[in-house]
């Protein structure tokens, strides 16, 4: 506990105990939650991982990406293709997958930053690349094009635990993505308080001033994009082997990119725990809305025949609007202040 407190220094005793209890609850989740709860929890950690990666770019270095699905998708397709084509196990395939995602990030970053394309333009550049790659894969028959790219799963696979080939029980996927998301959290904590992290924050707050003080702005921005893209690529590899099917319309959909940003913004951009906290609120919330609708239909309060496809997203969107309007710094700083989870405002 002491070393933990040293690492996440601002955590107050209340935060430490609450966090610890929550962590224990999650660790034991396969023993108390059913398969449904586990699916939701797996999604939460998966989105938290992507959120952490997105937050690193915007919250730490001030670079807004609205095409993050691109890096996830590249990671997913690379690892899946190498596995299907030459049988490369994903534990090795993650390297080229992350490599390609990083390369793509560097390319976009270089194009954007070399010409000092800032703010909105850079954001639009990320989304343009995401769409470009989506249409390209739509036409790449060797990647299944619009028909989708599938990975074979046998019934035996579902009962084994094979981390090398990422084949196994839902529990394995759950613990794996949990470890990855927590790993991302630790990495971000480490980076935030490293020399690199301080450079990023200087660039985020005032790029010109940072430049004047001798910070190589272009270089450190590139590092931010590269690390962020790499993390998203890892998430993509997980996605590919968890879902076993990849469709460009789904993987590269603009909604995926928006999804990547939601958790962090709701939780609090630039905070360490914001992304994970935000996804822990949003994803279950969406599920609760779906369940509530089903229940109302079951009790005949609303006609079961009515099609309510859009209702969940409608409510979700409304909640996001409320948060932006009334808690624009995110919920995590607010909850922290309320429950005295952290000792000072030190956590930036």
């Amino acid at each position: 506990m002491t070393s933990l407190r040293l690492f996440f220094d601002p955590l107050a005793p209340a935060g430490l105990w609450l966090g610890g209890a929550f962590f224990l609850l999650l660790l034991l989740l396969p023993y108390w939650g059913g398969s449904y709860v586990m699916t939701v929890a797996t999604t939460v950690f998966y989105l938290a991982l992507i959120g952490q990666s997105w937050n690193l770019m915007l919250g730490f270095a001030g670079l807004l990406s609205i095409g993050h699905a691109l890096f996830v998708g590249i990671g997913a397709y690379t690892a899946a293709y190498l596995f299907a084509a030459i049988g490369l196990p994903p534990i090795v395939g993650v390297l080229p997958a992350v490599g390609l995602a990083v390369l793509m990030g560097l390319l976009i970053g270089y194009l954007g930053f070399r010409f000092a394309i800032g703010g909105v333009y850079f954001a639009l550049l990320t989304i343009a690349f995401a769409e470009f790659v989506r249409v390209m894969i739509d036409h790449a028959s060797w990647l299944g094009a619009t028909e989708g790219f599938f990975l074979k799963v046998t019934e035996a696979d579902r009962h084994s635990v094979d981390l090398v080939n990422l084949r196994g029980t839902p529990e394995m996927y759950y613990y794996l993505i949990m470890a990855l998301a927590l790993g991302a959290l630790v990495l971000c904590r480490y980076l935030l308080h490293s020399r690199l992290g301080y450079y990023w924050q200087a660039i985020r707050d005032d790029a010109e001033a940072a430049d004047a003080l001798g910070v190589d702005v272009l270089r450190y921005k590139m590092y931010a994009v590269a690390i962020s893209a790499g993390m998203a690529g890892v998430a993509g590899v997980f996605y590919a082997f968890y879902q076993n099917s990849l469709f460009p319309e789904i993987v590269f959909n603009i909604e995926r990119s928006i999804e990547a940003t939601l958790g962090s913004i709701v939780g609090g951009v630039g905070t360490l725990f914001g992304p994970i906290f935000g996804t822990f609120i949003l994803t279950p919330l969406g599920e609760i809305v779906t369940e509530a609708i089903d229940l109302l239909k079951h009790w005949q309060v609303i006609d079961p025949e009515t099609r309510l496809d859009g209702l969940k997203l409608l409510i979700w969107g409304f909640i996001v609007v409320l948060i932006v309007l009334f808690k624009p710094r995110g919920l995590w700083p607010w909850v922290c202040g309320r429950l005295r989870l952290i000792r000072t405002e030190a956590e930036s």
Binding site: V120, E131, V135, T261, L308, L311, F318, V320
Partner: protein
């Protein structure tokens, strides 16, 4: 590919491009003045399309006749949206504004989905299949009427900004917000007017484009992206640039459709966008980067 195939493609691309241009104009007006990227762009346009669809179904109104009504309705929508919601986030960082509008966009798509369902629906006007020919150049009536309507609306808008006092006041806000406030302009009201005008462009463009394409809720994000591409190519904030960008994208998509495959056309536009960002990041008609 022979000469006439190409000419036909270019002509049809040009006509559709004018409608695209009108839609992009809506984005450009809002960004140029309020400095907010309207992420609900395509969604507002699709609302205009659905409005025209309803008018056609109920009253048998030609979508072109719905144009003023759709523009008026969307004007009110945009005005209220800016007044009640968007104005509250003007002091927040860019990504919060983006999130707010993205969330609004999601809400609009979901609401449309609840009301109209996911299927594509269109209108069938009497002149849908009529056309006229110059030599081997064949021009469909719907495309031509759509383009004419788009040009009329766009000209009205440009004239409004050039000649009316309100238009000049809005331009003053765009040039220098503080200065506009100092000389006594009601900036908040002018911003709301601007958002309304931008949304009105989209309503008009939506009603017009219903003549050419069928509508369904998921069309919206595609139109948003298309407008982004057009506006960046033309130069963010440049009104004339939006029209030029629209034509350029319309024509290049048409050519890409006959050179490669129709479904490849978006990749072509995005390729063009990346090229423009590389060679002239401020856009073709934009001022030097700030």
């Amino acid at each position: 590919m022979d000469f006439w195939t190409l000419t036909n493609a270019v002509a049809s691309g040009l006509l559709i491009g004018l409608v695209y241009g009108l839609s992009a104009l809506g984005l450009s007006v809002i960004f140029g003045v309020i400095r907010i990227v309207n992420f609900a762009h395509g969604e507002i346009m699709v609302m205009g399309m659905f409005f025209a669809l309803v008018m056609f179904r109920w009253l048998g109104m030609d979508p072109l006749l719905s144009v003023p009504l759709a523009a008026g309705l969307m004007f009110v929508f945009g005005y209220v949206l800016q007044r009640v919601v968007v104005s509250r986030v003007s002091h927040l960082p860019e990504h919060m504004q983006f999130l707010l509008l993205a969330a609004l966009a999601i809400m609009i798509v979901s609401a449309l989905l609840l009301i109209f369902g996911p299927d594509a629906q269109g209108v069938e006007v009497d002149y849908a299949w009529e056309s006229f020919a110059f030599g081997e150049l064949i021009i469909d009536y719907p495309k031509m009427f759509a383009a004419i309507a788009a040009v009329i609306v766009a000209s009205l808008l440009l004239a409004f900004f050039k000649y009316t006092t309100t238009g000049k006041a809005i331009r003053a806000c765009a040039d220098n917000r503080m200065g506009a406030q100092v000389v006594g302009l009601n900036v908040d009201r002018l911003y709301a007017l601007t958002f309304g005008i931008g949304a009105a462009c989209l309503g008009a463009a939506g009603a017009i484009i219903l003549l050419l394409f069928e509508v369904h809720p998921y069309l919206a994000p595609g139109y948003t992206l298309l407008a982004f591409v057009i506006v960046i190519i033309g130069g963010l904030g440049s009104l004339f640039g939006a029209l030029v960008g629209g034509i350029l994208i319309g024509v290049s998509e048409a050519i890409a459709a006959i050179l490669f495959q129709p479904s490849m056309k978006t990749a072509f536009s995005f390729g063009l966008l990346i090229l423009v960002l590389l060679l002239r990041p401020q856009g073709l008609l934009g001022k030097a980067a700030r």
